[in-house]
């Protein structure tokens, strides 16, 4: 199959590539390209070689995405078939120039892959054979060209997306060209294994690639990269460039710790604010730098150690407050409180011997720190010991195994070990004994090492730790480094115990031997690198050299260590200007070639050791390599010891911290503070508790504390104490329970336990936690806890304290914030029946309490003013009148005057008012429904006042549902409902009279019930308001339809007081101009002058009877000051003065008016009637109703008969018969008043008498009988007798009749004369 292309697929590919070429739309084209890519990658080399040109053609496509994809395809082909590199590399070089940045970027991405693979292939081929095939060689030369090209892009001035990727390319090459200390230094046994390429595979035995040269190149490139970040180049970069550079460099530093010393100074000297100049994005760069430094800080490589202080300093400077803390915490975690080392340098100095000793024993301590350092120090030590195994080449396999076992055991036992430590420590006796024992053994020198080992292995690790700690007290407070010499051995034996145990005698010897192998190496190196190295040595302090020499008498290792110790300490402690770390990179710059060289050299030098320790080969090798690489720039003499001392620096504070933390117990609180020289004894046994038990213990402790508080409350200082208590309650785990306990404590005696203050403290703590923008999770939880706490306290305060108590109000006023549930509580308090049972008889007081709380909240807490106001307003339209009234009082009297919320209140009240009115816009309401409603409501009201306890709840609910029903059905609300809605508005009217106008407007369209409700309110309202200009204005122009309301207002206004002149004037004006209804004048009638009233009288009479009666009463009563406006007589006369035709008033109205008068007999008395009649009878013409009135008068007062007869006779004299209507009345009256009227009748002239008798036949017989009486008959003229038929005979009678008639005539004439006289007299009088 190989080399023979399947014709089908070839055809397919050809057609595919063609269709790609000719496809027009971008979308399908790209799809085709991808298809092509899939197919192509399945093809073998031969087929592809044929086809490659086609794909190159694709690149001529005008659209960027296609070119990019073509590049990608080619790149992938290249990676898969490296033999094409000579063709592909030139192509990629051309693509680099592409106008579209994305395409150029793609080219670089492909290049890095291609480069890596080519390098790898060459390297591996070179390892296996001394000759390379020419193809590969040319590939490689092309790749180098490509690389140079990309370099030129990366380092050209300016910015851009292409440059970003080019920089990554540089990073990749640097990484490829330098050995990876963490990677395998052995090439994979068979080629296929996917293992990361490591240049150290080559080991200088490659025919083609020179590791040293590569290293030099990498170094040079790194310098170029670093130069970019140096001032002033950095100013011309964009943020993205800076970010990428920083990230790349930190990545290099992390992956190739050898470069640490060169990269870090540059990073540290970067000052983000200084590159603001171009307005670039500082935060981004700053953050990248911070992260880079942090990651460098976390780097465990020994060469990183000297930089920690400066890194920390830089980080601290960079970040303010919390962030710095976090960073420091991380750092703490990572390297065991380097900070402490800084801050407590004296302490560290004192501990130095110990750590030194440890290191001397451990010497070549494993350079790799355990990944996460948060385990305890025991883990640390065991870890270290584990590393030691690996790093000690001459250890026998057996001991290694043993050690490994030990290691794993002690690692597994960390937790238990820690706890047992304290058990042991209960009495320090054994410890002291052990110390003594150790001392004795150590005194024997090296020969006792074996027994020391046995001793150490026989006691537990924790006990051992205790011994160490105990012994530390014996250390002198100050130590010079040289002094340390003397104690070194002793300390080493005691402290480096673990190690000792595991490597009895052989260990130290090994150490010595190992380190002693180094001088030759150093010498060798020195000879090779002769001059520069020597310079370095000289540079790095002559004093130290002296030190080294002094130390050499014990061991070389120690000497170097001491030297390094000083070296490392100097920059940190006293800024003696010796080899500050920043100088070191410069030195190494001078000798940029060293790392690679060094490592290869090392490999040679240590090959035996490596071989011996094949078990742990990788780590060891790394270690040695690193030693080589990282310290290549310095004196080789330092190589080994320096590692260990740096290690020791790391360890010393760490160890100390862990020791002290062990003392302080697991809470891991103030590690720093416990960092004293004299370590406190541990006295409590430590028991491992389960979580539940811990919770219990904590809870019990807390209860104790709380109980104690009850006692000490007297002692004062409660400020601080309650703070503490609150803090504890919130801070401790299982806090829910504790909070409950705390709550119980608070509530058990709120006043005496300063419950308010304590509660507030708790709340503020919780609140702070909730607001602390940490993660969503803890925020929400704290908020929830806050809510629970506040709510519980508030509820208890409500339930246990009398309503008059102000605690609740105070609490809510001062709590940091009020969550919804608390507001709900308040709402329930203010509006009972909303969700809770309206409880007891206290509920009224509770409402007051709630409302006053709301009031104070509105005043004190502007942010929740609206919510509180809403609560108050809801309460102000509560269905229970009692509640409502209270709330209204609050709102109207206290809240409404506040200018900031008055508008809101007003709007709400208006809305409610309108809601009551608008619902019934459809006037037609079924009467039945209304009745039922009002019935129900009347029922409703009663229980709410009378027996609230049981029924009100149910009723309330029904009322609510009822309301909603009515709303839904659109029928009008009931009166109480209307009142509920409107009361608030009315109350506001009393505060702001202009609001009253709205009621007038609303009134006309309101339903009956609403009107009724309004009417109920008006009297109180208007009386409260009094007459103001606003009200006058409203009165002067009432909207149509509001007459009834106006009436009531006027009535109220005039009731009991004298209306002002303005009011009367306004009303009169209104009557004259707009409103012709005299009714409005009724209220002021008593205050009008009599003559005006008389003018108005016809209008009054025209009113409906009841209103007339009312007006009548007012007139007759008059005002208290001026007395009655009209006397009853005047009234009657005025009534009689009305002419129905002239005044356009129905006669019926007038008669009704008369009747009304007669009904009031106590006013219209007999005398008054007589007087009236007397006057009326004199009127000419006689009033129309005169006779009617006379008749009524007789009916009402029979005693008036005599007087009436007089009137009648006067009427006779006035020829009453000439008024036909009155004549009828006259006769009626005569009939009624017989027999008294007979004498009057007989005074009638005979024709009128006859007429009268004819009209009222009933009169005739009695009259005749009356006249037949002798004494009367004789006095009667004959004519009259004739009319009566009383003449003796018919003849005579006829004669008599005529004569009588005659005489009658004369009589008549006489009478006429009389009448005339009387007329004259009356006229005269």
């Amino acid at each position: 199959m190989v080399g023979i292309m399947n014709p089908v697929s070839r055809e397919k590919l050809a057609s595919l590539s063609n269709s790609v070429k000719f496809a027009i739309d971008l979308g399908p084209k790209l799809e085709l390209c991808r298809q092509l890519k899939r197919d192509l990658l399945e093809e073998d080399a031969a087929a592809l070689s044929e086809f490659l040109s086609h794909i190159f053609d694709l690149y001529s496509d005008p659209s960027g995405p296609v070119r990019k994809l073509a590049t990608e395809i080619i790149g992938e082909i290249g990676v898969k078939h490296l033999e094409f590199v000579p063709e592909i590399a030139p192509f990629l070089i051309t693509v680099l120039e592409d106008a579209t940045p994305a395409v150029a970027r793609q080219s670089i991405s492909c290049s890095i892959d291609l480069f890596r693979h080519t390098l790898e292939k060459i390297a591996i081929q070179g390892l296996h054979s001394s000759e390379l095939d020419s193809d590969l060689e040319s590939s490689w030369s092309w790749m180098l060209k490509l690389k140079e090209k990309i370099y030129s892009i990366a380092f050209q001035p300016g910015s851009g997306g292409v440059k970003l990727v080019a920089l990554k390319f540089v990073e990749a090459v640097i990484l490829l060209y330098t050995p990876n200390p963490n990677g395998s230094s052995e090439p994979p046994p068979n080629e296929g294994t996917p293992i990361e390429f490591n240049i150290s595979w080559l080991r200088g035995r490659h025919p083609f690639l020179n590791v040293g040269d590569l290293s030099i190149e990498a170094s040079q490139r790194l310098v170029l990269l670093l130069d970019q970040l140096r001032f002033p180049t950095v100013k011309s970069l964009t943020t993205s460039m800076i970010v990428v550079l920083i990230n790349s460099l930190s990545a290099i530093a992390k992956k190739r710790p050898a470069y640490y010393g060169r990269i870090l100074p540059v990073l540290l000297s970067l000052d983000p604010p200084s590159f603001v100049i171009k307005g670039v994005h500082v935060y981004g760069a700053n953050n990248a730098l911070k992260n880079a430094l942090l990651s460098c800080l976390q780097c465990s490589h020994p060469s990183a150690a000297p930089w920690r202080d400066r890194l920390l300093g830089a980080l601290k400077e960079m970040e303010a407050g919390g962030l710095a803390e976090i960073a420091l915490n991380q750092v703490h975690k990572v390297n065991g409180s380097v900070e402490d080392e800084k801050d407590h340098s004296s302490v560290i100095k004192e501990e130095k011997p110990m750590t030194k000793a440890c290191d001397a024993a451990g010497n070549n301590v494993g350079r790799k720190r355990s990944g996460t350092e948060d385990s305890c120090d025991l883990a640390e030590t065991s870890d270290v010991s584990g590393k030691r195994v690996r790093s000690t080449p001459s250890v026998s396999e057996e001991s290694t195994k043993e050690l490994n076992r030990n290691t794993s055991m002690s690692q597994g036992d960390i937790s238990s070990a820690q706890s047992t430590t304290r058990k042991v420590d209960v009495d320090t006796g054994p410890v002291q004994q052990l110390v003594a024992m150790f001392g004795a053994l150590v005194a024997q020198g090296e020969k006792a090492v074996g027994s020391l080992g046995i001793l150490i292995s026989s006691i537990s690790a924790d006990l051992l730790a205790e011994v160490v700690i105990a012994n530390m007290r014996n250390l002198p407070p100050t130590h010079s480094h040289t002094d340390a010499d003397d104690e070194l051995l002793e300390d080493m034996c005691i402290i480096g115990s673990n190690t000792q145990a595991k490597y009895p005698s052989s260990f130290l010897v090994d150490v010595v031997s190992l380190s002693s192998t180094f001088p030759p190496i150093a010498a060798l190196l020195n000879s090779q690198q002769s001059v520069p190295n020597e310079i370095v040595i000289q540079k790095t302090e002559v004093d130290e050299e002296v030190d080294v020499m002094a130390g050499l008498n014990s061991t070389v290792a120690y000497a170097g260590m001491a030297h390094e110790a000083e070296n490392a300490l100097l920059p940190g402690m006293e800024k003696i200007d010796v080899p500050t770390p920043s100088d070191i990179p410069d030195v190494s710059n001078l000798e940029s070639g060293i790392p690679g060289l060094d490592s290869s050299f090392h490999n040679d030098g240590l090959s035996d050791a490596q071989a011996a320790s094949s078990l742990v080969s990788t780590d060891l090798e790394d270690a040695s390599q690193e030693q080589g690489t990282s310290f290549g720039g310095k004196s080789p003499l330092h190589v080994l010891p320096s590692i260990s001392i740096e290690r020791s620096e790391e360890l010393s504070p760490k160890a100390a911290v862990n020791d002290s933390s062990g003392v302080v117990s697991s809470t891991a609180t103030s590690v720093v503070s416990s960092h004293s020289f004299v370590l406190p004894k541990m006295s409590a046994p430590v028991v491992n508790l389960s979580d539940d038990q811990k919770d219990d213990v904590q809870k019990l402790a807390y209860i104790r504390i709380i109980e104690a508080y009850k006692q000490i409350a007297v002692a004062g200082g409660s400020q601080v104490r309650s703070s503490l208590l609150a803090y504890l309650g919130v801070e401790l785990p299982s806090e829910l329970d504790l909070q409950k306990l705390l709550r119980e404590h608070i509530l058990s005696d709120y006043i005496n336990h300063e419950g308010h203050e304590l509660t507030l403290r708790v709340l503020y703590r919780l609140f702070g936690e909730a607001e602390e923008e940490s993660d969503f999770f803890s925020c929400t939880t704290a908020a929830s806890a806050y809510e629970t706490f506040l709510l519980a306290v508030a509820e208890t305060l409500r339930d246990t304290f009398p309503p008059s108590d102000k605690s609740l109000s105070k609490l809510l006023g001062e709590a940091p914030c009020l969550p919804k549930s608390v507001l709900n509580l308040l709402e329930c308090l203010c509006s009972p029946g909303i969700s809770e049972k309206a409880e007891d008889s206290q509920s009224g007081d509770r409402v007051t309490q709630g409302l006053s709380t709301v009031w104070s909240l509105i005043l004190l807490r502007p942010p929740i003013r609206d919510v509180c106001l809403k609560i108050a307003l809801q309460s102000a339209v509560h269905h229970l009148e009692e509640v409502r009234m209270k709330a209204i009082r609050l709102v109207a009297n206290k809240l409404y005057p506040l200018p900031s919320i008055s508008q809101q209140i007003e709007d709400f009240a208006r809305e409610m008012l309108l809601s009551a009115v608008n619902i019934d816009a459809a006037e037609i309401t079924d009467a039945e429904g209304l009745i039922i409603e009002s019935h129900k409501d009347s029922e409703l009201e009663r229980p709410s006042h009378e027996h609230q306890s049981m029924s009100s709840t149910g009723k309330d609910i029904s009322a609510v549902s009822h309301q909603s029903e009515t709303y839904q059905s659109g029928s009008s609300p009931s009166v109480p409902e209307a009142q509920r809605c409107m009361s608030l508005y009315f109350a506001l009217c009393t505060k702001k009279h202009s609001l009253f106008g709205q009621i007038f407007i609303v009134y006309s369209s309101a339903s009956k019930a609403v009107k009724q409700a309004i009417h109920r309110h008006i009297p109180i309202l208007v009386r409260t308001m009094g007459l103001s200009s606003d009200l006058l204005e409203i009165i002067s122009d009432p909207p149509s339809g509001s007459e009834n309301l106006l009436m009531q207002v006027l009535q109220t206004l005039t009731e009991g007081t004298v209306p002002s002149a303005e009011l009367i004037f306004t009303i009169k004006k209104l009557f004259d101009s707009k409103l012709k209804d005299v009714e409005i004048l009724v209220p002021v009638l008593p205050f009008l002058p009599g003559d005006e009233v008389l003018l108005l009288f016809p209008y009054l009479v025209n009113l409906p009877l009841d209103k007339f009666q009312a007006a009548l009463t007012r007139l007759l009563q008059g005002s208290s000051q001026s007395g009655p406006v009209l006397s009853p007589a005047e009234v009657l006369i005025a009534i009689h003065g009305i002419d129905p035709e002239r005044d356009g008033i129905p006669l019926k109205k007038v008669t009704d008016a008369c009747n009304a008068c007669f009904e009031q007999r106590h006013i219209f008395t007999q005398q008054i009637l007589a007087k009236v009649l007397n006057q009326l009878v004199e009127q000419i013409p006689l009033p129309l109703l005169f006779m009617r009135t006379v008749l009524q008068a007789i009916g009402a007062f029979p005693g008036l008969v005599g007087f009436i007869m007089e009137i009648l006779s006067r009427l006779v004299s006035k020829q009453i018969w000439k008024y036909p209507k009155l004549w009828v009345g006259f006769l009626k009256c005569a009939l009624l008043t017989k027999p008294q009227s007979f004498s009057v009748l007989l005074q009638l002239p005979p024709p009128q008498l006859e007429n009268a008798l004819n009209r009222t036949a009933a009169l005739k017989a009695p009259l005749v009988a009356h006249a037949s009486q002798e004494n009367i008959r004789t006095s009667l003229p004959r004519s009259v007798l004739a009319v009566l038929g009383l003449s003796p005979e018919s003849q005579s009678s006829s004669q008599v009749q005529t004569s009588q008639a005659h005489t009658g005539d004369t009589n008549n004439s006489e009478k006429d004369a009389v009448a005339e006289i009387s007329k004259e007299s009356s006229g005269a009088s």
Partner: protein
């Protein structure tokens, strides 16, 4: 998730991830969170919490939030565990801590593609209202970045103008796949 929901609606190819070790939702107290593994369907959490204490979780907005999430995706995913999801053009974070974690993760991956990715932190307070605002801002930013041919060349300008416009501080970094 709010941003995920919004960007998805606007037609962006978008995924969302957490960076913690577990999905932690507030519980009855700070020490009793509801902890779920990543990959637990939102539906499951929703049912679980509703069963536990519907009132509480309704009140603190967790149930509604889960309901919203239900409609966006099946289950929460963890950023660090989903490197296989392929590369993104932009990564948005809404908290600096997360920003740092994402960057750390990206730096720890093998950078083989050399495909640049823009990581932007837009600090958003973790509550429902702010999330809505933040989502809109993220969308705005996405659209602006989408509008230019190559953000690598103009990212500074875009972000600075965005900051000026919205008075928000952004933090960004560039990493590579």
């Amino acid at each position: 998730m709010e941003a995920h929901s919004l960007l998805k609606k606007q037609g962006f190819d978008v995924s969302s991830y957490g960076t913690g070790t577990h999905v932690k939702l507030p519980g009855p107290s700070l020490r009793e969170p509801n902890v779920y593994e990543f990959g637990t369907p939102y539906k499951h959490m929703f049912d679980d919490l509703r069963r536990k204490d519907p009132d509480l979780y309704k009140r603190n907005g967790i149930l509604p939030m889960l309901k919203r999430n239900l409609s966006v995706k099946l289950a929460p995913q963890r950023w660090q565990d989903n490197a296989a999801d392929g590369y993104f053009d932009i990564v948005f974070t809404f908290e600096e801590k997360v920003f740092d974690m994402v960057l750390e993760d990206l730096h720890n991956r093998d950078q083989v593609l050399l495909k640049s990715v823009l990581v932007i932190n837009l600090e958003v307070k973790d509550n429902h209202e702010e999330a809505a605002v933040g989502a809109r801002l993220a969308l705005d930013l996405c659209e602006q970045i989408e509008a230019v041919e190559s953000w690598e060349d103009s990212v500074d300008d875009i972000l600075i103008s965005f900051e000026n416009k919205h008075r928000r501080k952004l933090l960004y970094s560039i990493s590579f796949y």
